[in-house]
Symmetry: C2
Subunit: 200 residues, 2 copies
């Protein structure tokens, strides 16, 4: 069975960078944006729409494990949401079947539980996460400290709801992960180097 590392992360904790660097150091596949691209191809929906669906609170959509059951749909938007979620599930599963990989977010730890993945949760204190986001703003982004704080808290609230709705488990509760890594005031590059050794 392929080696699968899943990374769940608080927004701004550097979890995505850690995942990418781990995959590079371990010479294994890294799936992140690729998942959206593949779903877009399969569903013929825009990537931006898919991103919105998988980041929004899914309280009105159906849990993953319902799969393609023929529940009566309330409206076409809900049907699209379910389609996206089912395709995401299938896409992620098929990617893990192909080769060793690192998958960031998207309830990967739950979707890939058959693979007995190594489940990492990445977190940091709020101040450090705001600071990391500030340093990584693009030229067109001009968020203030307060705005970023609000954005981070709100996005994490969504991630939490999303994860808990689909998996029935508590997001960020350490018992649901094999390893929880605190990235407060640390260089992601350096810790990726250290933690990659766990898998060599």
């Amino acid at each position: 069975m392929n080696k699968v590392i899943t990374i769940s992360r608080e927004f701004g904790s550097g979890g995505r960078e850690l995942g990418r660097r781990l995959s590079e150091l371990l010479h294994i596949a890294y799936y992140d944006q690729e998942i959206l691209t593949e779903i877009a191809k399969r569903t013929e929906l825009a990537e931006s729409y898919i991103e919105q669906v998988v980041e929004q609170t899914p309280m009105m959509s159906f849990p993953i494990h319902v799969g393609r059951s023929f529940y009566p749909m309330m409206n076409p938007a809900l049907e699209l949401t379910q389609t996206v979620m089912v395709e995401q599930h299938k896409t992620i599963y098929e990617m893990a079947e192909k080769s060793d990989c690192v998958i960031v977010g998207r309830c990967g730890d739950y979707i890939l539980r058959d693979f007995n993945p190594f489940r990492i949760f990445v977190y940091a204190d709020l101040e450090s996460r705001i600071q990391r986001c500030l340093e990584r703003q693009t030229e067109t982004e001009h968020y203030t400290w307060e705005e970023l704080k609000h954005k981070i808290v709100s996005l994490d609230k969504n991630r939490k709801k999303y994860y808990e709705f689909y998996t029935g488990k508590k997001w960020g509760d350490k018992i649901n992960y094999d390893l929880c890594i605190n990235t407060t005031n640390v260089s992601i590059k350096e810790i990726a180097g250290s933690f990659s050794k766990l898998f060599m």
Copy 2:
């Protein structure tokens, strides 16, 4: 400054074994029972009494940071408790000043905060901890599954109270640690080998 690794752990999670093995693999000092022995020497109290003091709920004693202040004492037992706590603080601090080391329990992460220690929290699901305790019973111990469950829950409750009383922080809350390691169904020997690489 010396490299200090502190290990906090849920009872039965194998944290003590992990600490001992890490120290062996890293060829650095390991302090655990040695701390009690040293306090016993300094205070002329029995090790068994000291163990009882540092494991019991400290609600009636004084926080570490009060140190040797001259508060009026309520009774000789409380005075003894405070003496033990102050000596424990001093002993642990002096040990960390001597050389690189691993310190298990005893609020080491808090007492040694000046050393910027690498703070590990070791945990596992309750079933796995009961199983680990069952397998490690000595010939004179004959706890049942239910008795061990009760013992583990009760001891962790004390550890939690003890930690929170002395440090003012939440025991087991991942933000207070650099790394949280889940030892559910894993071999401590194997993960010690893996995690020791983080420090090499």
